[in-house]
């Protein structure tokens, strides 16, 4: 098993390196002078020359990339010329909000999706209702959900704040509930449908029939044989879902005025703050790749048939 884990780790590092080349290279694919881009569009020739020197822009591409990569690995994500501050400082205050929001939404998705899906698979009548509800839920984009939730729960009922993140753990939870729900709706519906299908499929398996024939109680059959095996497809897809949340997060942060990575990405893009865009992109891609890697390892834990590897 550890051999397979090692292989996955190597391919994860390779993927990250390739992604970083792409992200760094985008700077030179964009029209115009990279120094102008880094400066945010308005700069005197003296400033541009300084940037060219500090960013090694006169050197060959891979030498420049190397300088940049070494800096990134040392935790230096470059300088924002718009804010005139290191990008790391700008990110520090925002990462927490985004992580909180994404984990909150992920918890809602996994708990809600698995419970609804299981219920739908085990009970015929509940199944019919859940199919309809999740089909509708699947079609609700997070920006629509965000507006609807704000209208109903913040403006009309006044149960939740309209925007902001609050301070302190409980207040944060309260402030981020609507955003997390908005982010979670369609993914929960998706996870519910997937869980329902996976559980239905496992219920029809021959080994479940064996367990029944041996007089194993229904509860044990469901937990040990149906859910246990259905966990394999469910976690694989849940992992991808969580990775996908990072993209959906951009929209929701904008809608709820949350000061996180998503809204920072939008602002930086509008202000042509290239170093910040680069840094946020790098973080989003790295998170995506790492989450996928973790899901891969987790499925090795769940499915012994995969552990043998290709050997």
């Amino acid at each position: 098993m550890w051999k397979v884990v090692g292989e996955r780790a190597v391919s994860l590092v390779v993927t990250l390196l390739m992604a970083s080349v792409g992200i760094y290279g985008a700077l030179f694919l964009a029209p115009g002078n990279p120094a102008t881009l880094l400066a945010g569009g308005h700069a005197t020739p003296a400033v541009l020359a300084a940037i060219e020197r500090s960013e090694h822009l006169n050197e060959p591409f891979f030498a420049r990339y190397w300088h940049w990569l070494v800096a990134v690995l040392h935790g230096n994500l470059g300088q924002s010329f718009v804010y005139r501050e290191p990008v790391t400082t700008l990110l520090a205050g925002r990462v927490g909000n985004t992580v909180f929001l994404v984990l909150y939404a992920a918890a809602l998705i996994i708990a809600g999706g698995v419970v609804l899906g299981l219920l739908g698979a085990l009970d015929r009548r509940a199944g019919a209702v859940i199919t309809v509800v999740t089909s509708v839920g699947l079609g609700i984009p997070s920006f629509v959900a965000a507006i609807a939730l704000i209208t109903v729960f913040s403006v009309k009922l006044g149960w939740f704040p309209v925007f902001g993140t609050g301070s302190g753990w409980l207040s944060q939870l309260w402030h981020l509930t609507l955003p997390a729900v908005a982010l979670a709706i369609s993914w929960t519906a998706y996870t519910a449908q997937l869980t329902k299908a996976a559980v239905r499929e496992e219920l029809g398996r021959e080994h479940v029939e064996t367990a029944r024939s041996r007089g194993i109680s229904t509860r044990h059959v469901i937990v040990r044989h149906v859910l246990r095996n259905a966990m394999i497809p469910i976690t694989t897809v849940s992992g991808l879902t969580v990775a996908g949340l990072i993209a959906g997060d951009v929209v929701v942060e904008q809608a709820f005025g949350i000061n996180g990575l998503g809204s920072f990405l939008v602002q930086s893009t509008l202000q042509k703050d290239f170093a910040s865009v680069q840094a946020v992109s790098l973080i989003l891609v790295a998170t995506f790749v790492v989450v996928n890697g973790l899901v891969d390892v987790w499925s090795l834990v769940l499915d012994p048939r995969l552990r043998a590897g290709r050997a």
């Binding site: 021959e206 194993i216 012994p304």
Partner: protein
């Protein structure tokens, strides 16, 4: 008294929303310690019989008649009684161990599960099962316990299934084509082990197979199923000496001959009918070389004849003639 009595069992299964008959009428008693081979072509309904006994028919199936275990109706059992029946009295050995054992749990988990479920401690269950593994010819039980099903060969896995079935000390074994999914060389090994352990423990067995020869080798009685109807029930010893039903004779004639293997294999003309297709008469009549008008219009009852039972209008008059067609080589001559 019989340990199991299958009494005028009929089963309808839902096919695209409509109930369709898959078993017409099966009456079959099994005495304690007796092995009964239930033989028939694919689609004859033989698996339905064994599944009905352990109440594993698909959802929506309609069951008529009765099945009694030690006098108690299995069909009328409530949840606790059914669980007790399944955890103590009966055990089923399925056809394909690879599909019928959970692939993500260890072999050890599978083996002790039923014992733990009925309240035994895992340690004592492990001791019981380890001894059983040795008795079914599985070496290195400690290592097997930790392994996963995909790490074992099909033959080994089927022995594990047999050990799991024996673990609960049942009085009745249901074996549904237990060697069909195995390759030919391991089939006989597994069968020998199953037969030996069953005899040793005096278990009754319902052995479902399409292989008449195999059934004859390990069973005391052979019951022949055709299109959902039991058409013959005969002691194994009489099977070759005294043939009573043309279909059984045809089955015996169609087996390959070990003495002159180049002989063209005899076949029963026509195709086997499904249970829902049969007309008012004998289900085998359209393919039967001895059929007369009555056979097509009137369904023969299963009636006692000497040592067994047979459902054929002409059983008595055909008795002498059938033996000649069932002897390999004779039919083509």
């Amino acid at each position: 008294m019989s340990v199991l009595e299958i009494d005028h069992l009929a089963v309808d299964l839902p096919v695209e929303g409509v109930l369709r008959r898959v078993l017409h009428d099966v009456t079959l008693p099994i005495a304690p310690g007796e092995a009964v081979g239930l033989v028939g072509e694919s689609g004859a309904g033989k698996s339905m019989v064994s599944r009905a006994v352990i109440r594993l028919l698909p959802e929506g199936a309609a069951v008529h008649g009765d099945i009694r275990y030690a006098g108690d109706s299995v069909l009328a059992m409530g949840r606790p009684a059914l669980r007790h029946f399944r955890t103590h009295d009966v055990a089923m050995i399925f056809q394909d161990p690879r599909a019928h054992i959970n692939p993500v749990r260890t072999v050890g988990d599978f083996l002790v599960e039923a014992l733990v479920e009925r309240g035994e401690r895992r340690e004592s269950a492990t001791t019981t099962v380890t001894a059983l593994l040795a008795s079914v010819g599985v070496s290195d039980p400690e290592r097997r316990f930790r392994q996963f099903p995909h790490e074992l060969s099909g033959g080994l896995l089927q022995r594990v299934m047999i050990a799991a079935a024996l673990a609960v000390s049942p009085t009745l074994l249901l074996a549904d084509e237990p060697t069909t999914a195995l390759d030919v060389t391991t089939q006989s090994d597994v069968m020998v082990i199953l037969d030996a352990r069953r005899r040793e423990r005096g278990l009754a067995m319902l052995f479902v197979t399409h292989d008449l020869e195999l059934a004859a080798a390990v069973c005391d009685r052979i019951a022949v199923l055709y299109a959902g109807l039991l058409i013959e029930d005969v002691p194994t010893g009489d099977l070759r000496r005294d043939l009573r039903h043309p279909y059984t004779a045809g089955l015996l004639a169609s087996r390959p001959d070990p003495v002159s293997p180049r002989r063209r294999l005899a076949a029963i003309p026509g195709r086997p009918l499904s249970a829902f297709e049969i007309g008012p008469g004998c289900p085998f009549a359209p393919r039967c070389p001895f059929a007369v008008a009555r056979c097509l219009s009137e369904r023969p009852e299963l009636r006692d004849l000497d040592t067994g039972r047979v459902a054929c209008h002409r059983a008595e008059e055909l008795r002498g003639q059938l033996l000649s067609i069932a002897t390999p080589g004779a039919a083509s001559a």
